[in-house]
């Protein structure tokens, strides 16, 4: 997904001289194509993420449209105050890109895991939170974020995430994409965990159910129109994310629907409230976090859903 980010940014930067990239000394050759024609706009800010966030805000005030790019924990939690004050409070159109989100860098340990970033970013007024599921979603949404001209957090994966879409639908920022219509049960997924959601839907289908599958790429603002409709159509809503089960996407959905009349039962699946360590791969880490079809089905079974 990071390759897609670099490719799309390079394409967009050819037509828009106001686009700037600040990166915190990562990416190696990733941004070479951008540097080939706009070296001065691909700025290595050094391993100084807080300064990078504030510099980006300053450049936005002067008419540039900056991206800041580094590994998710360092582009969100390490520099949180700079994002809060300089980007969100001053409402500057900086696109904060977190690469290797969730458990993508599982083997690097909890220092490189991000399971709190959605919670942090969605707590900031003016901030938008977007979690594409694959390179295709990234490519569809990125130009729309630039058009927004507002603070955005763009939570992306690492590399070689499987494609999740068939037929390349048109996606719209702020609106869910229904991957497969269904009834009684909805599976709402955000970000790179979509393949697990697809597996879960297959499993539920084998149990004779007909779940709806939704890519909820925009976490903030929530697609309330969809949720209002979902409340009337489903008995159970399942949320899935590679993020702490508290404070993230599932919490956002739960907060919204719980204030409506006759809301369905909400089942949130994510990383439990603990650090996941001593793992060698993302699959390993997901297993340790209980993010497997078997674990989810077991919980759903205990709750009488299946």
């Amino acid at each position: 997904m990071r390759n897609a980010f670099a490719r799309v940014l390079t394409e967009l930067a050819k037509d828009d001289e106001s686009l700037l990239l600040f990166y915190a000394d990562i990416g190696n050759r990733l941004f070479n194509p951008l540097k080939e024609f706009a070296e001065e706009r691909a700025i290595n800010a050094g391993i100084a993420e807080a300064n990078m966030a504030s510099m980006a805000a300053g450049s936005a005030m002067m008419g540039h449209k900056p991206f800041i790019y580094t590994i998710t924990p360092f582009t969100t939690s390490r520099n949180f105050e700079q994002i809060k004050i300089d980007i969100a409070y001053q409402n500057q159109p900086v696109i904060i890109v977190g690469t290797g989100s969730g458990l993508s860098y599982a083997n690097l340990g909890p220092t490189h895991h991000s399971f709190e970033d959605i919670a942090l970013m969605r707590a900031l007024p003016n901030m938008h939170v977007i979690c594409p599921a694959d390179a295709y979603e990234l490519e569809q949404l990125m130009p729309q974020l630039i058009e927004l001209d507002a603070p955005c957090y763009f939570r992306i994966g690492k590399k070689n995430e499987p494609a999740v879409h068939e037929g390349n639908p048109v996606l719209t920022f702020g609106k869910v994409h229904v991957m497969r219509p269904g009834e009684r049960i909805a599976v709402l997924s955000t970000g790179t965990i979509m393949p697990l959601a697809q597996e879960l839907v297959s499993e539920l289908t084998e149990h004779g159910l007909s779940p709806e599958l939704v890519s909820f790429h925009t976490v903030k603002p929530l697609d309330e129109a969809y949720l209002n409709d979902a409340i009337t159509r489903f008995d159970h809503v399942i949320t899935l994310e590679e993020h702490n089960v508290s404070g993230g996407f599932g919490s956002a959905v739960l907060e919204y629907v719980s204030e409506q009349a006759n809301w369905p039962r909400v089942h949130r699946f994510g990383i439990p409230d603990r650090f996941i360590d001593q793992v060698h791969s993302t699959a390993d880490a997901r297993a340790k976090a209980g993010l497997t079809v078997a674990d989810i089905m077991s919980t759903l079974s205990e709750r009488g859903v299946v």
């Binding site: 807080a50 504030s54 004050i85």
Partner: protein, 267 residues
């Protein structure tokens, strides 16, 4: 009016506004008045009747708790009426204790949490350098403020990019919130630190108007970022406030304001 008498008027108004509106940080405000006076009356290209002039120079206040000093300077520089200053701290007022997004015309960015201004100004200066524009950026920081790591991150970056449109001024009054800044952190030799980070440095008496003016003028032709370490006195200009760190938080009584008025030579 001479700049010295403008500075004296600003100092008296700061004391009076602090007393009447119960706004603290008087000591921090008084230490930087001469620096602000020189910047706004001599150094910077500004157009108070058109604060959004795209060709203007920018001033960023790092030590946001000295907001009153900036507001008062702007008022006397005709951005708005000095009488407005007495709305300070009231509900709905533009004059927040730390400048917010609704701060009055002339305030370029919010400030309050320390260590942000140099980074913001570095991004701004970089942008303008890329755009080939002539704007210059002036940042005033407290000596306590430069405890923050982001200041030194920005210092390294700005030097690396040779941002000759960027000037940092350290209001080196030797006192921070709860003690002596040179003891709380190892600040000295401060000028050498900035030089080692790749900046052209100067050290001046921060209350010598003509020395400040010369230093800031000289900075305009130096082809790298410039740091001016300005030796100042916290509470400068009012005998019983000078070097007394209680005035970081204390509010003067009416009698104390009257004495300050007399000492400052305000009729």
């Amino acid at each position: 009016m001479t700049l010295n008498s403008i500075a004296a008027q600003i100092r008296y108004t700061l004391c009076d506004v602090s007393s009447q509106t119960k706004t603290p940080h008087l000591g921090s405000c008084l230490s930087c008045v001469d620096i602000l006076t020189v910047l706004y009356w001599r150094t910077m290209h500004i157009t108070p009747n058109n604060p959004a002039d795209p060709e203007r120079d920018y001033f960023l206040l790092g030590k946001g708790h000295a907001a009153s000093a900036l507001y008062t300077t702007l008022a006397y520089r005709d951005y708005f009426s000095p009488t407005a200053l007495y709305e300070h701290g009231q509900t709905g007022s533009q004059f927040e204790e730390h400048p917010g997004i609704h701060a009055p015309a002339g305030v370029e960015t919010v400030s309050g949490s320390l260590g942000h201004a140099l980074s913001l100004a570095t991004g701004m200066a970089l942008s303008k350098q890329l755009q080939g524009a002539k704007n210059r950026f002036y940042v005033l920081m407290g000596d306590g403020e430069i405890n923050e790591g982001t200041v030194w991150e920005a210092a390294m970056f700005a030097a690396g990019k040779r941002l000759s449109n960027l000037v940092a001024i350290v209001d080196f009054n030797k006192l921070q919130g709860t003690g002596e800044s040179t003891e709380i952190m190892h600040l000295e030799p401060l000028e050498e630190k900035w030089r080692a980070f790749g900046w052209h440095t100067m050290r001046v008496d921060g209350h010598d108007i003509s020395a400040l003016e010369q230093a800031l003028e000289a900075a305009k032709s130096i082809q790298q970022p410039v740091c001016i370490v300005a030796d100042t006195v916290k509470g400068k200009g009012v005998s019983f406030m000078e070097n007394d760190n209680n005035w970081h938080y204390r509010i003067p009584t009416e009698e104390e304001v009257a004495q300050a008025k007399q000492e400052l030579g305000i009729s």
